[in-house]
């Protein structure tokens, strides 16, 4: 009896609706902001990342228009003006063959940037596809694919570059990119796989399954969009890595060959008489350092900005 008394319901008439009616139960206070705009708003708040972004814009602008601003062709030699210091005629000075360094630095920047961007892009695309397949199918497919990655990652890229330039009989930019990306995608593949595995186990994927959404749509609508921000951030962190690798390879003579040039090749040339003409080493090195730092700092800011759950 006591049980029944307690569960007895209070008649409906005794309740009065206070405040809001049905349908207008809850109202939004803050205006709606789209995903991209919200990310941009958060990115702008990060002053360091914003400055890095501006520096990058300037660098990109100069690599595109720099050689024509200088008024000299990058391979043009002037025997009357050899090893000159920075002046009004030659802003960054000239090298031992009398070539204008301002033109050469930005010409070299083109090569460095090209290798950095395409390298990161190619390895990201391959890594995404590879990691995505491994994560989506799981089980034995995943096991085999990840073991292959582990083997590839353990091969030092210097050996790959040397072997490739021997086998292909060329030291062109194409060979360089191929050599760098041949094992470079492995890191991205691992990252994408880990991220996808995490998303796959979330309940919204299960809900989509419940609704009868096809596998193809689940990958396109749920798995990929949720991985893309991680990939973008990885790309920005990878670019300086590729630029540095290229600089290093050119420095030791395995990279870009004369008359073409890059920041690494410029530094390598300047190193011979660096005690007498330190500015010849200073400018290309400064550009390498600035680009790498800017990309890294911007990547940091992007990572925070692209995560909608990190609200600031």
């Amino acid at each position: 009896m006591e049980e029944q008394e307690r569960t007895e319901t209070i008649p409906q008439e005794k309740f009065i609706i206070e405040g809001c009616r049905e349908g207008e139960a809850e109202q939004m206070a803050r205006p709606h902001i789209g995903y991209v705009r919200d990310a941009w708003r958060r990115f702008r708040k990060n002053k360091v990342a914003l400055i890095a972004f501006i520096i990058l814009c300037i660098l990109v602008f100069l690599t595109i228009f720099g050689p024509s601003i200088s008024g000299y062709a990058f391979e043009e030699m002037d025997k009357t003006a050899r090893n000159q210091g920075p002046s009004a005629a030659h802003w960054f000075g000239t090298d031992k063959l009398g070539r204008d360094l301002f033109a050469r630095v930005w010409q070299g920047g083109r090569v460095s940037m090209l290798i950095g961007l395409t390298g990161a892009l190619v390895s990201s695309v391959i890594g995404c596809i590879y990691g995505g397949i491994a994560a989506y199918f799981g089980g034995i497919v995943d096991d085999v694919m990840m073991r292959i990655v582990e083997i590839l990652i353990s091969v030092p890229y210097l050996i790959v570059v040397i072997l490739l330039s021997v086998v292909l009989q060329s030291k062109s930019i194409g060979t360089l990119i191929l050599a760098l990306t041949l094992t470079g995608w492995c890191g991205v593949a691992r990252l994408v796989r880990a991220q996808m595995l995490q998303i796959k186990s979330q309940e919204f994927v299960m809900a989509a399954n419940c609704l009868g959404v096809s596998s193809r749509r689940i990958i396109l609508r749920h798995l990929l969009p949720n991985t893309i921000s991680v990939v973008i951030v990885t790309i920005t962190f990878d670019i300086p890595g590729y630029i540095f690798s290229e600089a290093f390879l050119s420095y030791i003579g395995l990279g870009v060959q004369a008359p073409d040039t890059s920041w690494g090749a410029l530094a390598s040339l300047a190193q011979a008489n660096f005690t007498f003409y330190p500015y010849q080493l200073f400018f290309p090195s400064l550009m390498i350092a600035l680009t790498m730092l800017a990309f890294t700092l911007m990547g940091d800011g992007l990572r925070d900005a692209l995560d909608p759950r990190l609200r600031t």
Partner: protein, 325 residues
């Protein structure tokens, strides 16, 4: 029963674990749910409630047994037939924070099922999504929002709207309230009850909250370590529990009256839940049961009929009932 919508017979779901062992998450579970009614499944964490619900809805393949939906075995369906079943049976998830895609707007989330099951245009889908949101108590301002802009209760409402959008007859509610505040829990449960009345929905309500299950359910099933131990109407189970485990569970519900002497009468179980990996023979509950005898340790109790619409799996339920312990 003529209007029985869901019938589960001897459903088993085993997972292989390392070392060639099997984890018996759901072990020979049988129950029926009549159209328009609610079956509440109660049990402690890890007893297989969620696995049971997910297997029922087809998210996990069953190991053995039958799942009949409107008289048709749905476990062997493929292609169009399977899609039709998915339209009729939906699920509401436990964690409102991971059950909504953070990259989709609320409109896209709610309309996702419509894209699969209907030929509506983008605009019509948006309209339908707005209608469903209104039905769960959210305005259309929310359509272009992202999940992270909403509170837990609002997200759970969106999850309900997503399930409702495809107009299902049967919804598995997998602990829909356990991640929410108590005040919000009541709102969500009342919303579910209202929707059930308006649309004639049938629920399988999974929870570990006995008071909520008692509030919403017509029938109640008590699970322990993968197996149902007792089944009956809410009134039957809560007023006169037959299984010792059910008795212990019910006595664990706190009593608001401090002078009722409830605290002293509480049945306190000793020991831990044994592992569901290769469980020993006999009654699963025997190691912790005050009434366990030799037979309990040796043999699995049968799923016995114990009066009008009641079932219990216990060797000694008759004795216990007579003694009135």
């Amino acid at each position: 029963m003529a209007d029985c919508l869901v019938e589960v017979r001897d459903l088993c779901k085993y997972f292989p674990v390392a070392g060639k062992k099997t984890l018996k998450a759901v072990d020979h579970v049988s129950f029926t749910i009549e159209k328009g009614q609610t079956l509440g499944i109660v049990g402690e964490s890890g007893c297989g409630k969620t696995t049971c619900g997910r297997t029922l809805i087809g998210l996990y393949p069953k190991t053995s047994g039958e799942i009949l939906f409107a008289g048709q075995d749905v476990t062997e369906l493929a292609g169009k037939e399977r899609l039709r079943f998915k339209k009729r049976a939906q699920m509401i998830f436990q964690d409102p924070y991971s059950s909504l895609d953070p990259r989709m707007t609320i409109a896209e989330i709610v309309a996702e099922g419509l894209q699969v099951h209907t030929n509506l245009s983008r605009k019509e889908r948006q309209e339908r999504a707005a209608e469903e949101l209104l039905a769960v108590g959210l305005t259309r301002d929310y359509l272009n929002r992202f999940a992270h802009e909403l509170s837990g209760g609002q997200r759970q409402r969106v999850g309900i709207a997503r399930a409702l959008a495809v107009e299902p007859e049967f919804i598995v509610c997998d602990e829909p309230i356990s991640a929410l505040d108590v005040s919000i829990q009541a709102q969500i449960v009342n919303l579910l009850i209202r929707l059930q009345k308006e649309r004639g929905l049938t629920y399988l309500f999974i929870s570990h909250d006995l008071s909520m299950v008692r509030h919403i359910s017509d029938y109640v099933g008590i699970m322990y370590l993968g197996a149902l131990v007792e089944y009956g109407t809410g009134a039957q189970v809560f007023s006169e529990a037959l299984h010792p485990y059910t008795k212990a569970l019910i006595s664990a519900i706190p009593d608001p009256d401090p002078d009722s002497g409830h605290e002293e009468k509480k049945i306190r179980l000793s020991g831990e839940v044994p592992s569901p990996v290769d469980p020993p023979p006999g009654c699963r509950f025997a190691p912790r049961c005050a009434f366990a005898c030799e037979a309990c340790h040796a043999q699995m109790p049968a799923w016995e009929h114990a009066g009008e619409g009641r079932y219990v799996a216990c060797h000694r339920w008759k004795e216990i009932k007579e003694k009135g312990v």
